[in-house]
């Protein structure tokens, strides 16, 4: 039944849709770290690569079921998130960003030199288990989790840390523990997305997870609006589809992409949906309509 559905869709669109879903999961994870908690991370691709290699190796060498490989990939990335989080989260602001950037580059170098990951030659022959249903099921789960996290007591504590770390600490929030937790959750989802990515492309190469990829994910989050879940998703959609739609201008494509980043930031410095609360927008519309309706009924009477 499900196969019938996918067979009738052009695989090109499916491929783009799959990548888009994976990017959404990555971006939502980073949004929790950078958008909600305010901790700058330039090394998100490293967690993605850890998840990707873990899941791929478990599938290839241990023949674990896909779901377990994915979960293990997420967990290993999560563990690394904690290990990295504890020492580096002492740093603040840009220094933290730089430390995570350094971590990302170190992971890259390690994967380039490891035997088991195939080094620079890469890891090939990973079975293609990822399909559009798995991806979007996980996207749905991620979105749900992110909403639950953001609007819980925990999420409000994270927001407090972003707004003012000292005040948050003064209010009795153990900022280090909270920051590490946010880091760990973000890393977990990055690992999950990495596992999906590995089983989609069937081939992994360390060069694919450099800092360019980390910044790409950061672009999604910042362009969408820091801290906003719909914004992050929108930013991801726009920036993933834009290069595809710009294919017709060939070599000039990435030039336009660069300009697009500049122009969008200048016109929406807080991101496309930054500072926009969707539920409030809807409410405002309703109340306006009610006002107008009542005004009309008064004037007609």
């Amino acid at each position: 039944m499900l196969d019938m559905f996918t067979q009738n869709i052009n695989p090109y669109y499916l491929q783009v849709a799959n990548l888009l879903g994976i990017y959404i999961i990555l971006a939502l994870g980073l949004n929790l770290i950078t958008g909600v908690t305010g901790q700058l991370s330039f090394g998100h691709a490293a967690f993605m690569s850890i998840g990707a290699y873990t899941a791929a190796l478990l599938t290839l060498k241990m023949h674990l079921p896909f779901a377990l490989s994915l979960l293990a990939g997420g967990c290993v990335a999560c563990i690394w998130g904690v290990l990295i989080g504890f020492p580096t989260l002492r740093l603040t602001g840009d220094y933290l960003g730089i430390a995570t950037l350094g971590f990302g580059e170190i992971v890259l170098v390690v994967f380039t030199n490891l035997q088991i990951t195939g080094g620079a030659i890469g890891l090939a022959g990973i079975p293609r288990y990822t399909n559009v249903f798995v991806v979007y099921l996980l996207v749905a789960i991620t979105v749900y989790c992110m909403y639950r996290i953001q609007y819980s007591r925990f999420g409000r504590a994270l927001l407090a840390i972003r707004e003012d770390e000292i005040a948050a600490a003064a209010m009795g929030i153990n900022t280090t523990i909270y920051k590490v937790q946010a880091f760990a959750i973000g890393a977990f989802f990055a690992g999950l997305a990495g596992g999906l990515y590995a089983h989609l492309l069937q081939y992994l190469n360390p060069n694919d997870f450099g800092f360019a990829r980390s910044f790409e994910i950061l672009n999604f989050v910042v362009l969408g609006g820091l801290g906003s879940i719909p914004g992050t998703i929108l930013g991801t959609v726009v920036l993933t589809l834009a290069p595809e739609f710009l294919r017709f201008i060939a070599e000039y494509r990435m030039m336009i992409y660069g300009l697009l980043l500049v122009v969008m930031m200048i016109f929406r410095p807080n991101g496309l949906l930054g500072g926009v609360d969707l539920s409030r927008v809807i409410k405002r519309y309703r109340s306006k309509r009610l006002e107008r309706a009542s005004a009309r009924s008064i004037s007609s009477s």
Binding site: N8, Q15, V276
Partner: protein, 401 residues
């Protein structure tokens, strides 16, 4: 407040348009499985896809391959086309990004309905694309992949490159037995899959023919400073340097070697084969050796090669073609000949003809596909840089192992 709402509306509209165009395209294909469509080329042309990078890392390989492919298409069309149709090259850029390469491959197969894809010039991305082409039953012929694990993907996957596994041992034998190399330095570019693969082959070959690797050094693609590695090599007495990376680093590396006063020459694979080698390396690469399956030697070349080199020079300011453009040319010609022989542009039909190719004369020499579709190309040219030009040092025949 109103401004914000307008923004939201505009964004929502944009998203809708994006989604609508996406879905619209998808619906148009409904009812007919994508594979069936790609198998029977629609329209007046036979489409061959180009897969490679036109921007970003490795863009020069992609651009050269594409030049050769276009020349092949022009030649075919000038001679009356293929099965009464024109050949059209469909090109797209993937920036050497594996995920984007997968997307481009899907687009070429499903939207452009190509019958064959030529590319990618690098092994890693060929593997990504190969899986997709095999599943979609479209022929993929790589004009550059040399690493292991490519044709193993399946019966639609081919390549027309000189395999290092055959060429490097032949060249090693020559270096050890004819040039008398006993102690060598081995330099690898660790983030370059081609280089890592070639290093493995050279190590086995050196051991087999009794030469000793006295020092191993690592560099990285994109590095410009090799002073530390060269200083390390300087401490050992070596007869020669085996360099498995690409020409950019090769030229700069030799420059540093001479700068530090060393006299040795290097030998490497066709990753070094480009005039850029001496443009970057200057006199420092004088005497260095490179093996290749293609050499534009106008004095000794066959008719096909001569015509190709002259046409290329005419179109490119007298620049000589490199192996990527030549292999790109041959790739399109191989596919065209298979289509002609099969009298069908259906990949599932002409792939069998392609697999039967034996002693096919191309611009890059003679190509035969073995039973596993691995190419055997003969001969190997061992070239030497002489006064900033290639000169043939030895022509070594290659036979399948």
């Amino acid at each position: 407040m109103m401004r914000r709402t307008w923004w939201l509306l505009a964004i929502a509209m944009l998203a809708l348009v994006l989604v609508a165009t996406g879905c619209g395209g998808g619906q148009a294909d409904k009812g007919k499985p994508a594979q069936e469509q790609s198998a029977t080329p629609s329209g007046e042309t036979i489409k061959i896809g180009f897969l490679g990078a036109k921007t970003g890392n490795h863009a020069s390989y992609g651009i050269e391959t594409l030049k050769g492919m276009k020349m092949a298409a022009d030649d075919i069309n000038a001679a009356g086309g293929l099965l009464g149709k024109k050949v059209e090259i469909i090109e797209d850029d993937h920036r050497s990004n594996p995920s984007e390469a997968a997307t481009v491959t899907q687009k070429l197969i499903n939207n452009n309905k190509v019958v064959a894809i030529v590319g990618d010039p690098t092994t890693g991305i060929t593997k990504v694309a190969g899986n997709i082409a095999q599943q979609s039953k479209v022929v993929l012929l790589s004009a550059g992949a040399v690493g292991p694990g490519v044709v193993e993907i399946g019966d639609y996957i081919f390549r027309d490159t000189l395999l290092d596994a055959l060429a490097a041992p032949a060249v090693t034998k020559y270096c050890v037995e004819t040039l008398g190399w006993k102690k060598v330095a081995l330099v690898t570019s660790v983030n370059n899959d081609y280089s890592v693969g070639l290093t493995k082959i050279f190590k086995d070959a050196l051991a087999k023919y009794g030469a000793q690797i006295v020092i191993e050094q690592s560099i990285k693609d994109g590095d410009q400073n090799f002073s530390a590695q060269v200083t390390n090599i300087k401490q050992k007495a070596v007869d020669g340097i085996v360099f498995t990376g690409y020409y950019t680093e090769g030229g700069l590396f030799m420059k540093e070697v001479r700068k530090q006063g060393l006299k040795q020459v290097m030998v490497g694979g066709d990753g070094l084969l480009s005039p850029k080698l001496w443009e970057l390396g200057g006199n420092a690469v004088e005497g260095s050796m490179v093996y290749t399956g293609f050499y534009p030697d106008l004095n000794n070349a066959g008719e096909k090669t001569k015509a190709f080199v002259q046409a290329y020079q005419k179109a490119n300011n007298n620049a000589l073609p490199d192996m990527f453009s030549a292999q790109g040319y041959d790739a399109v010609m191989l596919i065209a000949d298979a289509i002609k022989k099969a009298n069908s542009a259906d990949p599932s039909v002409f792939k069998n003809e392609l697999a039967k190719t034996q002693n096919w004369q191309g611009v890059t020499g003679t190509i035969s596909f073995g039973p596993n579709r691995e190419p055997v190309k003969s001969p190997v040219f061992l070239l030497e840089v002489k006064e900033q030009k290639w000169a043939v040092k030895a022509v070594i025949p290659v036979t399948a192992q």
